[in-house]
């Protein structure tokens, strides 16, 4: 909080804050480092205060962001064109990152249905991602099914898993639901880790086939990029149409006020089930894409941290907004890559960033306070 009041306070407050943080830091790195931290903070806190005052007064950042959020819809086709030429312009490394980003966009959009639209907090979404990936891996390596045959089956299994979890879990409210989904995520991971005869335990399953397209293999990175891009486009297309239909409206209504929703004749249980199944559906697709890209799956790709990251993508971009969630996913995939130089410090920055965004823009970077179904 910026200092209000007398001139003396303007100087003492940052000093007190700096001393406080340095003291907290002291046991971990000794007196010298704490001293350095004190000096750095004593200089930067007043500076940051001045900057944030400026920003608050003019508010260009906030408005700028809102404008981007609004305009992006109109210019969506323009944004789309450069995506087609990415493999021509970028090196393999960045194509790889882009493929990953595409998979996360699908995941985040799926989770967005559950959290952003229906308002059900899910802390174990990686479980569905895992079920999708392992289903494809097993169908492919054990039964020899190709990508296009295994995909609908794997997605069907994942959707069913979503429904099966939802049936009992939806009797619970809010945070109890959150913790049960978290538990489900952990249980799925532990089962994958320990059911050696089926999943090969922590070693994972390797030798998964890449998809083919009319006989041509899509194993090369650029080809795979286009495959993922295709699925992202399908996801966004379907998602936007569903959330602007009566189904999406019912989800938002339930999120806003469950009691009023049932007074309007909406079967809240049924639509929550739809949301869970629909969310899991996309996680299943993302899982298949992931397994087919890596040609390998192991439990460590589906940890709780993974669920947390997906949730952060949804919330940072702006829960309940399709465009926002896409941007949230891009941000959280690309930002750590850009910070790779400062590898050691990037998770520190991600943690800080999450707190900052929530404190200064709780509705997410691109979410509007007034989340209407058109978003």
């Amino acid at each position: 909080m910026r200092p209000i009041g007398g001139k003396a306070e303007r100087f003492t407050k940052p000093l007190i804050a700096s001393a406080w943080f340095s003291l907290l830091f002291l046991p971990f790195r000794g007196p010298e480092a704490a001293g350095v931290l004190f000096v750095v903070l004593a200089v930067s806190i007043p500076l940051l205060g001045a900057v944030s005052d400026r920003v608050k007064k003019t508010g260009p950042l906030r408005q700028g962001l809102e404008n981007i959020g609004l305009k992006s819809r109109r210019f969506a086709p323009l944004l789309f064109a450069p995506l087609l030429v990415v493999p021509l312009a970028a090196g393999n490394y960045w194509i790889d990152v882009a493929v990953l980003a595409g998979i996360y966009i699908i995941l985040a959009l799926g989770l967005n249905v559950v959290v952003g639209y229906a308002g059900l907090l899910n802390l174990g979404f990686a479980a569905f991602y895992a079920i999708g990936a392992y289903s494809y891996a097993l169908l492919n390596t054990m039964l020899g099914l190709g990508f296009w045959t295994a995909l609908p089956l794997a997605v069907g299994i994942t959707t069913l898993a979503g429904l099966l979890l939802a049936f009992p879990a939806l009797r619970l409210r809010g945070d109890y639901l959150a913790i049960v989904t978290l538990g489900f995520g952990e249980i799925v991971r532990l089962v994958l880790n320990n059911w050696d005869s089926l999943t090969k335990g922590p070693n994972g399953i390797s030798g998964i086939d890449a998809p083919t397209f009319f006989g041509a293999s899509l194993a090369s990175l650029p080809a795979y990029y286009y495959l993922v891009l295709f699925f992202v486009v399908v996801t966004v297309f379907v998602m936007r149409r569903v959330v602007t239909s009566k189904i999406g409206r019912a989800w938002i209504a339930i999120r806003e006020d469950e009691i009023a929703s049932s007074a309007m004749g909406i079967s809240t249980m049924r639509y929550k089930l739809y949301a869970c199944a629909f969310g899991a559906f996309w996680a299943g697709i993302a899982g298949c894409l992931f397994a087919a890209k890596m040609r390998f799956v192991s439990p460590e790709s589906f940890t709780f941290m993974e669920s947390v990251m997906m949730l952060c993508m949804v919330i940072i971009g702006g829960a309940g907004s399709v465009a926002g969630v896409i941007l949230g996913a891009l941000l959280l995939v690309f930002l750590p890559e850009l910070l790779r130089e400062a590898q050691l410090y990037r998770m520190l920055a991600v943690g800080c960033g999450l707190v900052f965004i929530m404190v200064f823009r709780p509705q997410g970077l691109f979410g509007r306070k007034n989340a209407s179904p058109e978003s």
């Binding site: 489900f184 320990n194 709780f304």
Partner: protein
């Protein structure tokens, strides 16, 4: 064998219970799952090692071990309380009126930050807590209990009883309960809600740090990611007992410790971490409000 496992379970359970208290108190007042609470416990464990090393280097340990240990626990609790206080002020207080998801994400951010902060300053490898207690112990019925186990159970028990007394008997404790019931009403009655919230974080963090120091001593090893799994389990314990209820958190913690310890030895140790959740899901399906909690009913 069975008795041995029960003692192990009680030890583990009292640690879970101590951490769970922090979750339950914060949840009772702010309805926030304080995800960073597990990291406070982890910081407590590190502080135990750091402070002990410091006191050994200045020669205090050689003079009096009990005094040193007391100093380590008290100082670690103070520093952790300061961390808890700071986290609340920076990451949660500005979000008092935001939607329910925002503080949760902020808490996840704090948790990621603190984990990496400790990893960067203390290194990614295991830290060792020097074994000071040898393998001393005593016989209890037909089984052996180490002094450390006994100490953990006794210290936890004393702290839980004191906390309950603090919340039920003191003026501050009454203010805490008032704020938990109705923040607006409490502030109208002249209770400083912000202060009560700060106290809650300070007390909860202090308890977690004691748990951290004891666990560091018990297992002898500490790593920067121990906070996450312990945090999740402690939260499970809190929900198990009915979140918001202090006796519930104690009971949930001990139940969880027993389930884990017995499950690991009689069913399969590979699924040790899953039992907590299986029990939790089972109980919530029968009693959607936890063992001691009431299912929330919304007034129309």
């Amino acid at each position: 064998m069975l008795l041995q496992q029960i003692i192990n379970g009680l030890t583990l359970g009292s640690v879970y219970a101590l951490i769970a208290l922090g979750y339950t108190m914060v949840y009772g007042i702010l309805e926030l799952i304080n995800f960073a609470h597990g990291e406070i416990y982890m910081i407590g464990a590190y502080l135990g090692i750091i402070l002990l090393a410091f006191f050994t280097s200045v020669g205090l340990t050689a003079v009096s071990l009990p005094l040193t240990l007391l100093l380590v626990v008290v100082l670690a609790a103070l520093i952790c309380s300061a961390y808890g206080f700071t986290v609340e002020k920076l990451a949660y207080k500005p979000l008092r009126n935001a939607s329910r998801l925002s503080p949760l994400i902020s808490a996840i951010g704090v948790s990621i930050f603190l984990q990496n902060y400790v990893m960067l300053t203390q290194g990614a490898t295991d830290k060792v807590f020097p074994s000071l207690f040898g393998s001393g112990g005593f016989r209890f019925l037909s089984t052996r209990v180490s002094y450390l186990q006994a100490a953990i159970i006794v210290v936890s028990g004393v702290m839980m009883v004191s906390l309950q007394a603090f919340v039920m008997k003191t003026k501050t404790g009454k203010a805490m309960r008032a704020v938990a019931q109705d923040k607006t009403m409490a502030s109208l009655l002249g209770i400083n809600v912000d202060k009560v919230i700060s106290i809650t974080f300070v007390v909860g963090s202090g308890l977690a740090s004691v748990a951290g120091v004891m666990v560091a001593a018990y297992y002898g090893l500490v790593n920067y990611f121990i906070g996450y799994i312990a945090g999740i389990k402690a939260f499970t314990a809190a929900v198990l007992g009915g979140i918001g209820s202090i006796p519930g958190a104690m009971f949930g913690g001990i139940l969880l410790g027993l389930v884990e310890s017995l499950g690991a030895s009689y069913i399969s140790s590979e699924y040790k971490d899953a039992y907590a959740f299986v029990v939790l899901i089972g109980i919530l399906l029968v009693r959607p409000g936890g063992l001691f909690g009431k299912a929330p009913e919304e007034k129309i």
